[in-house]
């Protein structure tokens, strides 16, 4: 690990956002704007059953009654939702596909992003669902997983092939009435991943979705649904990038997770959407609703996120601990630099008895950015003997950035214990000079310090992602110490 750490530090010197390229490919795009006809058109394009169209329309009608939330510690510009393209599917220019059924141009794109669409990459032991703009391009290892009864496919195919399962769970964790962005997503969601792990099965490989925004002025509204049946286990990873553009783009996703009795789900995110340029121009507005329910007794859900990208981040991956003895965890590193703004955290809702939750949030602010932790811990009267431990740390680089913590704690039960700890620290010039005097450059010193600070969270990521995350942390903070 130490050896890798070093190489990373070397690699990152003088790197900028390296995923900012655009793939030159035709797209099947529907007209700009949002109304019931557009929603019918999306549904039609995807050949959806009536129940799903109804779901979308109900969500849309509800969305129209809502206002964009403004409680977050974020300065969000007015968004013209009528100027967004809600569906854009990459379309082959030549209509050629290779032996694996993949358009060579798309394959090149994902290759460039380091995402193998061919199963030759078997060694990496990871199955991938690759989504560009509004459609899933390819899901690997589907067949091998199917032998174990595991379903891993795009949510569009799941609607066709496993309608009962999708219908049973869709919208049960995040109802369309949940919030503004959730209602919008429910109305227009295009693709995303679906995972079902049957009873007693331990998924033998990491499942992963890779989201790529390519087309201009498009929003990405993917939807992911993961269900782990009794006594099963799965580790799921999510990554994302977008081209470098001057105008901001919208990303409003929903992730719903259900864990039944004794099931365990680990969900890891390395979020690297285009953060905008040094002056705060462009970037992705990342407004995402992620929620998991520990439905069954003794089930466990663990969220790990490394957030380095996006101009604006608005997300609170949460756990509803409904089953007795269930466990929820949230490990987060959120980095903001230049003019990035992040308002992120979690909710731990203790409903069952003896439920436990743990929150470790590490905010890192640099440049002129604003970084907020917002978290809720609630223990209801019935949730006796529940425990929560929260630790919220902020690290500041420079003196023009901000770090904020907004904890909401409500305990309605005398046998439960909730603990909250918070620290704020600064990378100071003495630390940097001490490193310099030992032959370590300032950039490398910041990398060392930041990775050291975030270690507790990074260590929760699967190996391949941990390495990627360390690189990202260093790159995101380049030139942040003057």
């Amino acid at each position: 690990m130490a050896e890798q750490e070093e190489n990373i530090v070397e690699q990152v010197t003088n790197q900028e956002y390296k995923y900012g390229f655009v793939t030159d490919i035709d797209a099947d795009t529907i007209p700009q704007g949002l109304n019931e006809d557009i929603i019918r058109l999306i549904s039609e394009k995807k050949n959806e059953p009536d129940w799903l169209l109804e779901f979308r329309l109900k969500a849309f009608r509800h969305w129209q009654t809502l206002e964009m939330p403004n409680w977050a510690h974020i300065d969000m510009p007015e968004i013209d939702f009528q100027s967004i393209y809600y569906y854009s599917a990459p379309k082959s220019k030549t209509n050629k596909t290779d032996a694996n059924g993949i358009d060579p141009e798309l394959n090149k794109t994902f290759d460039k992003l380091g995402i193998p669409l061919y199963e030759r990459a078997q060694l990496s032991g990871m199955a991938v669902d690759a989504v560009m703009d509004s459609v899933s391009v390819k899901t690997t290892f589907k067949e091998q997983l199917a032998e174990l009864g595991i379903i891993f496919c795009s949510i569009s195919s799941a609607v066709k092939d496993y309608p009962d399962l999708v219908r049973k769970y869709l919208g049960t964790v995040v109802p369309y009435t949940d919030n503004f962005f959730a209602a919008l997503n429910s109305a227009v969601f295009s693709d995303g991943s679906f995972v079902y792990i049957p009873k007693g099965v331990r998924c033998p490989m990491e499942l992963s979705s890779y989201f790529r925004i390519n087309a201009a002025k498009t929003g990405q509204f993917e939807r992911t649904l993961i269900v782990a049946d009794d006594d099963s286990y799965v580790s799921y990873l999510e990554g994302c990038t977008a081209p470098q553009r001057d105008e901001a783009q919208m990303h409003a996703a929903i992730v719903e997770i259900v864990a039944h009795d004794r099931a365990e789900i680990k969900y890891s995110t390395v979020q690297n959407w285009y953060p905008g340029d040094k002056d705060g121009k462009g970037g992705i507005y990342n407004c995402v609703t992620k929620r998991a329910i520990c439905k069954g007794d003794s089930s466990k859900i663990s969220w790990t996120q490394v957030e380095t990208g996006s101009a604006i981040t608005w997300k609170y991956p949460s756990c509803i601990l409904a089953g007795d003895n269930s466990v929820g965890e949230f490990y987060s590193v959120a980095v903001t630099n230049n003019y990035q703004q992040a308002d992120t955290g979690t909710k731990m809702i203790h409903l069952g008895k003896n439920t436990k939750s743990r929150i470790v949030s590490k905010g890192i602010s640099a440049g002129k950015s604003q970084n907020s932790y917002r978290g809720e811990v609630r223990v209801v009267p019935k949730a006796s003997n529940s425990r929560n431990f929260s630790q919220c740390d902020s690290l500041l680089l420079g003196d023009k950035c901000g770090a904020h913590t907004f904890p909401y704690i409500q305990v309605d039960n005398e046998t439960s214990v909730v603990q909250h700890e918070a620290t704020t620290s600064k990378v100071d010039e003495d630390q940097i000079f001490y490193c310099n005097q030992r032959g370590i450059s300032t950039e490398d010193a910041v990398g060392l310090i930041v990775n050291g600070y975030a270690k507790e969270v990074i260590n929760k990521l699967p190996m391949e992602f941990a390495v990627e995350a360390q690189k990202l942390l260093a790159v995101s903070l380049e030139n942040s110490v003057g």
């Binding site: 130490a2 630390q431 450059s441 060392l448 310090i449 050291g452």
Partner: protein, 253 residues
């Protein structure tokens, strides 16, 4: 040519001039002690030599290894073989000693065109050198200087010196805050590392440390200038007479 040649060095902190024309030449194999009362500029000299950005050099030149030291970034000075044992070692939470010193060693090797050490080679080297200053195994796995006692911090500085094998080591008040046992351990480490190729500057107030690390040349720095340079016998003289004698000589008393 000397390993270090300082000519007419002037340096400021803000608008205030601290060094007012320091001249000093150090040859390989030599140990120089720099003594002087509080506020005479001893720590400033070490900070300026290592490139601490708090200070501005306004005049003069410093050659190190035949290169213009003042043009080099602090990290390059270190990679060239200049080492400062800090008076107040800095804590870096979250960064393990192992990772820290390994990065430092390999940065220096890279600068000198040598390949990075493998994990095995590195750990072997670390085991040997840490014994030199009787540093606990556990300390190596903790964060840099975090929660170390005063003595442990100073021993850790000498340990890093042993790992980095500098050409010139500057020990800035390394004896401050040390009990006699820790002082012996630190001195033993420094003496062990002493050879005909490298040199040291020992900055101190007291004779105590110089009983263990015996200097070849002793300088007195006063009001930003070296006002006296003699052999090791000067240490005893200063201990006996105190600095008032120097101040009187300089017409200040």
């Amino acid at each position: 040519m000397g390993l270090l040649e300082i000519k007419n060095l002037h340096a400021n902190i803000g608008d205030k001039e601290i060094l007012k024309g320091v001249n000093l030449t150090i040859n390989p194999g030599e140990v120089h002690a720099i003594m002087g009362p509080n506020g005479s500029g001893k720590s400033t000299l070490s900070a300026v030599l290592t490139g601490n950005p708090t200070y501005t050099v306004t005049e003069g030149s410093v050659m190190f290894n035949g290169k213009n030291l003042l043009e080099m970034a602090p990290e390059d000075r270190a990679r060239e073989g200049m080492f400062l044992s800090f008076q107040y070692p800095v804590e870096i939470p979250g960064v393990s000693m192992v990772n820290f010193i390994r990065t430092a060693v390999n940065e220096k090797r890279k600068y000198q065109g040598q390949p990075a050490l493998s994990a095995t080679e590195f750990l072997k080297m670390m085991r040997e050198r840490k014994d030199l200053v009787e540093l606990d195994n556990k300390l190596a796995n903790r964060s840099v200087n975090e929660g170390f006692s005063g003595g442990e911090k100073k021993r850790n500085e000498i340990f890093q010196m042993a790992m980095l094998e500098p050409k010139l080591s500057i020990l800035d008040e390394t004896d401050s805050g040390l009990d006699i046992d820790a002082l012996r351990i630190v001195a033993k480490g420094v003496n062990h590392l002493r050879n005909s190729e490298n040199a040291s500057i020992v900055i101190t107030h007291y004779q105590r440390l110089l009983d263990y690390i015996v200097p070849d040349v002793v300088h007195v720095l006063y009001k930003g200038r070296i006002v006296k340079t003699e052999g090791r016998e000067l240490v005893a003289e200063l201990e006996e007479k105190g600095y008032d004698w120097i101040k009187r000589e300089q017409g200040d008393l």
